[in-house]
Symmetry: C2
Subunit: 451 residues, 2 copies
Amino acid sequence: MQMAQKPSIPKGTRDFGPQETAERNYIFDTIRSVFRTFGYAQIETPAMENLSTLLGKYGEEGDKLLYRILNSGDAFAHVDPDKPLTPQVCEKGLRYDLTVPFARFVVQHQGELSFPFKRFQIQPVWRADRPQKGRYREFYQCDVDAIGSRSQLCELELVQIVDQVFERLGVRVLVKINNRKVLTGLAEICGFPDKVVDITVAIDKLDKIGLEAVREELIAKGLTPEAVSVLEPVLTLSGTTEAKLATMREVMSSSPTALKGLDELEELFGLIEAAGVGTPTELDLSLARGLNYYTGAIFEVKALDWQIGSICGGGRYDNLTGIFGLPDMSGVGVSFGADRIYDVLKGLDKFPKDLISATRLLFANMGADEVRYLLPLSGALRRAGVAAEIYPDAAKLKKQFDYADRKGIPFLSITGASEMEQGVVNIKNLSSGEQKSFAREDVGGILEFLA
Amino acid sequence: MQMAQKPSIPKGTRDFGPQETAERNYIFDTIRSVFRTFGYAQIETPAMENLSTLLGKYGEEGDKLLYRILNSGDAFAHVDPDKPLTPQVCEKGLRYDLTVPFARFVVQHQGELSFPFKRFQIQPVWRADRPQKGRYREFYQCDVDAIGSRSQLCELELVQIVDQVFERLGVRVLVKINNRKVLTGLAEICGFPDKVVDITVAIDKLDKIGLEAVREELIAKGLTPEAVSVLEPVLTLSGTTEAKLATMREVMSSSPTALKGLDELEELFGLIEAAGVGTPTELDLSLARGLNYYTGAIFEVKALDWQIGSICGGGRYDNLTGIFGLPDMSGVGVSFGADRIYDVLKGLDKFPKDLISATRLLFANMGADEVRYLLPLSGALRRAGVAAEIYPDAAKLKKQFDYADRKGIPFLSITGASEMEQGVVNIKNLSSGEQKSFAREDVGGILEFLA
């Protein structure tokens, strides 16, 4: 027997107790049920992927944040100290996101899939990031993607999914929409096609620092004053989405890329209106998430009543599967951030109250005979789908009450010798105080009282 | 851009496509819903545990099968080749089972839990085992445990849970039950208390090799002929459970340990009868799974109509949390083997037929105007919980039909210009051939037709 160890878990990871697990499942179940009504099917991929699948997909920083797994058998291996360690003893890594494994899955199983392939995936991912408030080394992602169609109906579906998920969760959100082609076009028309990122970052700061400071910043980044003047009508864009699109069409008429992006945006906003989506949507040119990656629409979802970063985001990509040998497969998807959505629901007190206590009824344990008397009834209730417990030990009633209280069990039955003699059970509604007596065989009546 | 790689996944791991994921979720959901009716609450623990939590808990062989994770930042570390590699660069490992993390969880969070603590946990585990048919390096375990009570009612609940799970899954099973204290007593009464494992293994072979060969084997293992003679009445045990228990009581009357075990068995079988459990149960002295670990009841579940190893098993343990500093915490639990249960359901063709196709209705895409005409209706159907898709592209009808066919979608709507003019939609039941026309706003009538 070893010495007792003080137990702990690795930094940046979490245990989830009954309450938190129930709340998290409520989020996952809601998201899943919405995904399903749109015809998306769930898949799962392994936690471990070959390092060759993962490396080079997330930039240099990402490569550093990959968790590497020691080859089995190499735990006591001797290595050559003059060569880098990893290639000698690691061939596998933990999944860093769900996107690259999805691309790998689509290419590997292309023969078995029917396209457009609409999939969702809810699994944990691991990143060796520095842990801090709200950032973990293990966290769940909930990704939904449609791959194999360029139709803007796919973009619409994602907006509808976001709308339905947050309607069901009772959270008001705003969907911000941009298009990578418009950003590319913007950089083209001012003559600095390689400054897409700088221009987008500058647009993002406009509200905070003002037009003059943005102008200075762009010039500091290498743009000419003339180039900045070309951008100005777009920087100061205002009015309705229609008005914004019209202004941009004029300003960027010389860029076929931008015009294509504007066509896409116009079609998408038209579809959103035609579908009667209740959630507000907004064209936001400063949106640039995952810029290298997206080729069309870009999405970001913000909670309206709770201060937190984006709670869902994504976009269209044209080249995701190319790296694994399947070119020209356009797809679009969004990822829901379960941890942030959890924080929003907690903050706004939007979780349903009765999530943990599956258990409706606790039968107090008054002794072995009483338990035997109650066994058929408790079995019948469970078969009817009602969660019922018999306290396992004939402990003091105080202790049994406490158990019901801490588990939030709403009904209690104290059935002793006299009830047994009469062939009845007593059941008390612990919140209203109402108490009723039932024939032990009256499962229907009891179910009604517990409902 | 990198070269295209031929994508693959690590040996012993698996991708699960839409069909398999739906089937596996059906198993998990069934198990989960039964656990809940007995008042068990779900928890989740991290995939990575500290190696100090895992090492030494699964024997020497288990230590070798642990997946170790390279410390972040150490991917390119230079190590001392004269010292073992792991302690220099690994502090974390992947969860090997759900039992040790559960024990760690109970000790770490004991202040927040109410005992008896009834928890279940459905998560993957990882073992660097040699992959072979039916054995994987990543697989799910579904564990249910009650900790903090010595009552045989906990054992009964597990038998009831097994009964309900397999009744709902439509699989006939046999629950074999043994008790570690009886095995210990058996070794005691013949004078070889350290030969528990050898004696149990020998009993297990009785059916195959016969009494004479078992006798020889026990003598080869070091037992005296006299000791074997003492065991003989137990080896040749037959008749009802009551008869077996009575015989053992006589033979082992000198062992308090055995008598305690026989009391427990008698109480448990009595409770099983009182509860009216439909699944057959059987006393089986050859049952010895996880012998070092269990201290009371031992369970194993076999499918009656499909040849495969145990599909569920477990038992009572008294010292699980002691290693983490919390002594005297008795618990009992079983683990359902999702992969084997999957194989049984596949083999017996017991999966429900309509698991994959969430989607009830496909709206064929006849063009942009038709799509806009259908958007409000498709949204209304989804809000009513019915999965409906609009094919994203105005592709050839043949292609759209194929999509419905491969996804097993049972209803198809082809709504073109003439239907739009009349304000109707046509819906066809693809299996019966019945076709009906509805006013576009008649959501109720359409829902009824799709039901």
